[in-house]
């Protein structure tokens, strides 16, 4: 029994846009899966359906034990409340449930390395640090499933690399299941155990690629032959997905 089962979902918006699917996917407990696809192929739509923020048009989402697990969501922008201090932003999810657990908030802030900035306001932080706050906020409610929608796409290369490293560390120690949407081939190969490549809109699965390299992954993984080989395979799948759309469009 897998942790998350996505069965035959499609999404057609009210204006007739076919955004997604049909799409089937099983996600294992504790795994790190990257979802890769061209922009506009329905990646955000898929995450929103999994989070229960939008209904699917067809098909459904199931969880292993039948209950909706605790979820965290990280957007492309940090999406913080500028009037709240860092620790107050991080506490948001707990606060909405009436839980006042300073230790848990503190722990989440520590995991992203912001203990010195717990009392700062978002405007006082850099873009990378704001993204860390956003991740800490998702971690604070101890999610079983962490949904990330191109969280580092707007960051510079170096900051992005640091955050990739730290995200893996947090994931390994906390043990949640990760669904990480990106349009970067290299980011997906660096992070994930499994890369699901989607076609152009409406997004369907073109390829499902395993990445067997062990964690912790570091610079040596980025420079390895296997890394390059998988990156080539993923790129080829992306191109194939693109041609699928062109062929479908002509048909």
């Amino acid at each position: 029994m897998s942790f998350l089962t996505i069965a035959g979902i499609t999404k057609t918006f009210a204006d007739g846009t076919q955004a997604l699917g049909p799409l089937d996917l099983n996600i294992d407990q504790g795994s790190f899966t990257a979802i890769l696809g061209p922009s506009g192929c329905g990646k955000s739509t898929l995450l929103r359906i999994i989070a229960g923020l939008n209904p699917a048009s067809q098909g459904g989402i199931g969880f292993g034990d039948g209950l909706k697990p605790e979820m965290g969501f990280v957007f492309q922008e940090p999406t913080l409340m500028p009037w709240r201090r860092v620790h107050e932003n991080v506490a948001l999810g707990l606060e909405m449930r009436g839980i006042d657990d300073r230790a848990q908030v503190q722990d989440a802030i520590m995991r992203v390395g912001l203990e010195k900035f717990a009392n700062a306001f978002p405007r006082q932080l850099s873009g990378g640090m704001r993204m860390r706050v956003s991740i800490a906020r998702a971690l604070a409610s101890r999610p079983a499933l962490l949904l990330m929608d191109e969280p580092f796409a707007a960051l510079d290369e170096i900051t992005r690399g640091d955050l990739n490293d730290d995200l893996l560390t947090v994931w390994q120690s906390a043990g949640f299941t990760s669904l990480f949407v990106t349009h970067s081939v290299f980011e997906s190969v660096f992070l994930a155990q499994r890369i699901v490549v989607l076609s152009e809109r409406p997004g369907r699965i073109v390829d499902d690629i395993r990445v067997d390299a062990p964690y912790p992954r570091g610079e040596d993984w980025r420079l390895s032959v296997e890394y390059a080989a998988i990156a080539r395979q993923v790129s080829a799948a992306l191109r194939a997905g693109h041609h699928m759309q062109v062929a479908g469009g002509q048909g």
Partner: protein, 257 residues
């Protein structure tokens, strides 16, 4: 430091110039009284002026509070229901664009004959209502939809979303609306009193009319000065409130530091 004192220095300089010119050119007090004569009038009528000022201040504050509650209330309603907004917003705009002096006689006839204060309050509220409504609607509409989704994901109740997200997110616009409405409440109260004439209203506007009828120009000026003081005090109070709410986080307040 100099920048802070500059308005005061300019004001004192102009007052001195005014005093000197009135004396040197021997301008009669019923044309333009000297600052000194205005000060004496203020001292002489002190008790009465004070009562009038309290009257006008009370109408102004009541109208401001009422306009804030109604403006915010309708803005919340409009954010929740597109139908309500579509149905009512045009009427709010009609109320806004109709000059208040043209409605005032009607309201004063309908309400003011029994209760002049209620009539003044209604008129001042109508004037102050719209800026709060329109700014609050704008503020609520600009709440980050991703934050809204996040709150839903965390199972937040409608009230939690309002209290922890919508209200603080819209507070810069709401406060901007309140700052405009503060001044308009005073203008509304004074205009209403002018239309009401001396039929029972005893605020500062009534003092101005009375003094004008008797050609007591220094007393007119004295009431006028107090009106300005009221207006400035209201503006400063609302600026302070805005600073309190926004200074930690909002760009507009940070730029000033």
């Amino acid at each position: 430091m100099f920048y802070r004192l500059a308005p005061t220095i300019l004001g004192l300089g102009l007052l001195a110039l005014w005093e000197v010119l009135v004396r040197v050119l021997d301008v009669p007090p019923f044309i333009l009284p000297s600052p000194n004569a205005i000060g004496q009038a203020m001292w002489r009528d002190g008790a009465g002026l004070w009562q009038s000022m309290l009257f006008t201040l009370r109408i102004t504050l009541e109208a401001f509070a009422l306009a804030s509650i109604l403006g915010l209330g309708f803005a919340i309603g409009f954010t929740r229901s597109a139908v309500l907004k579509a149905a009512l917003y045009p009427y709010a705009i009609i109320l806004q664009v109709t000059p208040i002096v043209s409605i005032a006689p009607l309201i004063i006839i309908w309400v003011g004959i029994d209760n002049i204060e209620a009539a003044l309050l209604i008129l001042a509220t109508i004037v102050a209502f719209f800026p709060i409504l329109s700014n609050a609607v704008l503020g609520f509409a600009s709440v980050d939809p991703n934050l809204r989704d996040l709150m839903r994901l965390y199972g937040a109740s409608g009230f939690q979303i309002f209290w922890s997200l919508e209200l603080p997110a819209a507070s810069p616009q709401i406060l901007a609306g309140m700052k405009i409405a503060g001044g308009l409440s005073l203008i509304g109260a004074v205009v209403a009193e002018f239309v009401a004439g001396s039929g029972g209203a005893t605020g500062l506007a009534w003092r101005i009319i009375e003094a004008g009828n008797r050609l007591q120009i220094p007393s007119m000026f004295a009431a006028l000065v107090l009106l300005s003081v009221l207006g400035i005090a209201i503006f400063m109070a609302l600026t302070a409130l805005e600073w309190l709410v926004l200074h930690n986080w909002h760009e507009s307040a940070i730029a000033r530091e």
